[in-house]
């Protein structure tokens, strides 16, 4: 009888210990759809799906506003040149602006032809590399095609801003992120259009973590 009690206790202890420590072997990552909201951390911050959603909204807005068609009609068929400015991030989530900017540029270049829009690359590292390359060409250190070409002057700036209203009661974290975007005429500073898209995310924290 006592042996059985002892065995029962041993079993109970082993079970509890294993259950409490959990498996700590190799972790495996699984590939998930970017638009899948059901996976990922329990965070109220921006998800990849949110950024894709906002990118879609901006591209649709450009199409609806017929910016390219109107510009081309005015300037003898020349497509407008757009430079995307690094978004302003007033949320509490870092590492969002760069991926958003890259994603937006990629989406625009995929969905529009070069006859509709042209894009100016304004990243500072690219700018300094271009300056060095031009200097080397001028110094005869590198080959140079006849007829110098100048860098693209943007007709429009595309600028985005992320603002947030973040609240917590200790148990829930509630973030409403407002993604605003605007197209600015670089000659006149006229706002060609401005739009906004709100996404609210709430996450629940375990009560034992405050």
């Amino acid at each position: 009888m006592k042996m059985r009690i002892l065995l029962a206790m041993l079993f109970l202890f082993t079970f509890c210990t294993l259950a409490s420590t959990g498996a700590t072997g190799c972790r495996q990552s699984t590939r998930e759809d970017l638009k899948d909201d059901e996976v990922g951390p329990e965070s109220s911050g921006p998800y990849a799906a949110d950024l894709l959603e906002v990118t879609d909204v901006i591209v649709d807005k450009l199409k609806k506003q017929k910016i390219s068609e109107n510009f081309k009609a005015k300037y003898k068929g020349e497509p407008p040149i757009i430079a995307i400015i690094r978004p302003q991030n007033d949320t509490r989530f870092p590492e969002v602006t760069q991926i958003f900017q890259e994603d937006l540029l990629t989406a625009m270049m995929e969905r529009f032809t070069r006859d509709q829009y042209r894009f100016s690359q304004r990243d500072s590292d690219v700018q300094s590399a271009i300056a060095s390359e031009k200097e080397a060409k001028e110094a005869g250190e590198r080959t140079d095609r006849t007829g110098r070409r100048t860098k693209l002057g943007a007709d429009y700036f595309m600028k985005a801003k992320f603002s947030t209203l973040s609240m917590t009661d200790g148990q829930y974290e509630d973030d409403t992120i407002l993604y605003t975007y605007e197209l600015i005429d670089t000659e006149t500073d006229e706002l060609i259009f401005k739009g906004g898209h709100k996404i609210r995310r709430v996450s629940k924290k375990s009560a034992v973590y405050r």
């Binding site: 409490s20 329990e42 009661d169 405050r210």
Partner: protein, 414 residues
């Protein structure tokens, strides 16, 4: 006599059930400084998963002190993601066994420090938008439920650096808004020095050098009370009370306290876990007493019924012994006791900084004097210097910023 092996077994069970201690970063600092901490924490998988976020913070802290900024940023960001996006874990186990079974996610002040350090690293890298987000999060995690009249954020380092970010955008209005928020805070010298002269828009605009100087050792936790169920917060012991800053041999001035880590630690209210621990302590005592009583009665009665009573009593007793009511004493013990500020307008170019530290009686602590610190002030924007009063600390050179701290060691890169 026959109960002895049973008792020995249960005691062994209790010892094993989540009582393993986490790495002692403070002791490591005493033995070999930041270098030892960085090397000891190199293999993150050598630590239990539940402690890895804390270890990441320690490792980043050491790397930052040694000048491996990029590598420190990677670690801080990884910890940031867990502390801000993670769900935690091991909570069910923590409800019965040791609280240390749950994943360490940090108290609000520890989360604020994590965000703040990450923000400073982004700022020094010129990524102001990311820095801005981090400083905002540091303020957010330092804020309670405002609807319930709880804790408004009152840790100034995050406010100051957020203002610097706004100034990079030329946004004076937002600087003023933050200053208004600071002006509404209680002027408690235990938290910050209300005479700090850089709490005006003009002073912020005028300065191009921001020195954050960390003094002393931050708070640490001990388990006290009934079955160690009370988590006591203790102030770190340190001698330094303020610092003086010299640039190129000329005295620039005295630093002002803008953050007190112990104050932040003790002013954030209680935890739900504290109530759970209290309940566990009572349950533990009750179960041990009830189990022992049942076993004694069963032994006295004898026969089949007595054996059953003994068996049930033994189970209850083991349950009580396995139940661990001890409070979790894990914490980021490498954090400073105080954060001091010095701001100045310095001509662009290379300068040499000297820091002298003093105790509360105004006596200089010579072993802490730091000389020949390099300060490069840009033509536009800020130079941000983060210094620590630790005697072994020396501000590293810029050349290490992007280096791999484990390069050339022939083991897996972190």
């Amino acid at each position: 006599m026959k109960l002895k092996p049973l008792i020995a077994l249960t005691l062994a069970c209790a010892a094993l059930a989540g009582c393993q201690s986490v790495y002692d970063a403070k002791a490591a600092m005493k033995q070999g400084g930041y270098q030892k901490v960085m090397m000891d924490t190199r293999d993150l998988n050598a630590f239990p998963e539940r402690d890895q976020t804390l270890v990441l913070n320690w490792r980043a802290h050491a790397k930052m002190a040694l000048g491996y900024r990029d590598s420190a940023r990677v670690d801080y960001l990884r910890a940031w993601n867990i502390m801000n996006h993670g769900e935690g874990g091991g909570v069910a186990a923590a409800n019965w066994f040791s609280e240390r079974q749950k994943w360490w996610m940090g108290d609000p002040y520890e989360r604020a420090f994590n965000s703040w350090y990450l923000g400073v690293l982004y700022y020094q890298q010129g990524k102001f938008e990311d820095a801005m987000a981090c400083f905002r999060n540091a303020i957010f995690v330092d804020t309670g439920d405002l609807k319930q009249g709880e804790f408004a954020a009152d840790w100034l380092p995050a406010f100051i650096m957020r203002m610097r970010c706004f100034l990079t955008r030329g946004d004076e209005g937002s600087v003023k808004m933050l200053l208004d928020e600071i002006s509404r805070l209680e002027k408690d010298k235990a938290n910050f020095d209300p005479d700090c002269p850089w709490l005006t828009v003009e002073a912020q605009k005028d300065a191009n050098v921001v020195m954050m100087i960390e003094l002393g050792e931050g708070p640490y936790f001990t388990a006290e009370g009934h079955h160690g169920s009370v988590r006591a917060m203790n102030q770190g012991q340190y001698r330094e009370a303020f610092a003086e800053v010299f640039i190129n041999g000329k005295k620039l001035g005295t630093t002002y306290k803008i953050g007190d880590t112990f104050y932040q630690c003790i002013t954030r209210g209680g935890r739900v876990m504290d109530d759970i621990l209290k309940g566990k302590a009572i349950a533990k005592t009750t179960m041990i007493a009830a189990g022992a009583t049942a076993m004694a009665v069963g032994h006295a009665v004898g026969g089949k019924g007595g054996a059953v009573a003994m068996g049930v009593g033994a189970l209850v007793l083991v349950g009580g012994l396995l139940m661990n009511a001890e409070a979790d004493t894990r914490g980021n013990t490498l954090l400073p006791g105080e954060t001091h500020l010095m701001m100045a307008k310095v001509p662009p170019g290379d300068h040499e900084v000297e820091l002298r530290f003093y105790d509360s009686a105004g006596r200089e602590l010579r072993d802490m004097r730091q000389v020949g610190l390099k300060l490069k002030v840009p033509e536009t924007g800020d130079a941000v210097l983060l210094a620590r009063s630790h005697p072994r600390y020396s501000i590293p050179t810029e050349s290490q910023a992007q280096a791999d701290p484990y390069a050339g060691l022939g083991l897996k890169k972190k």
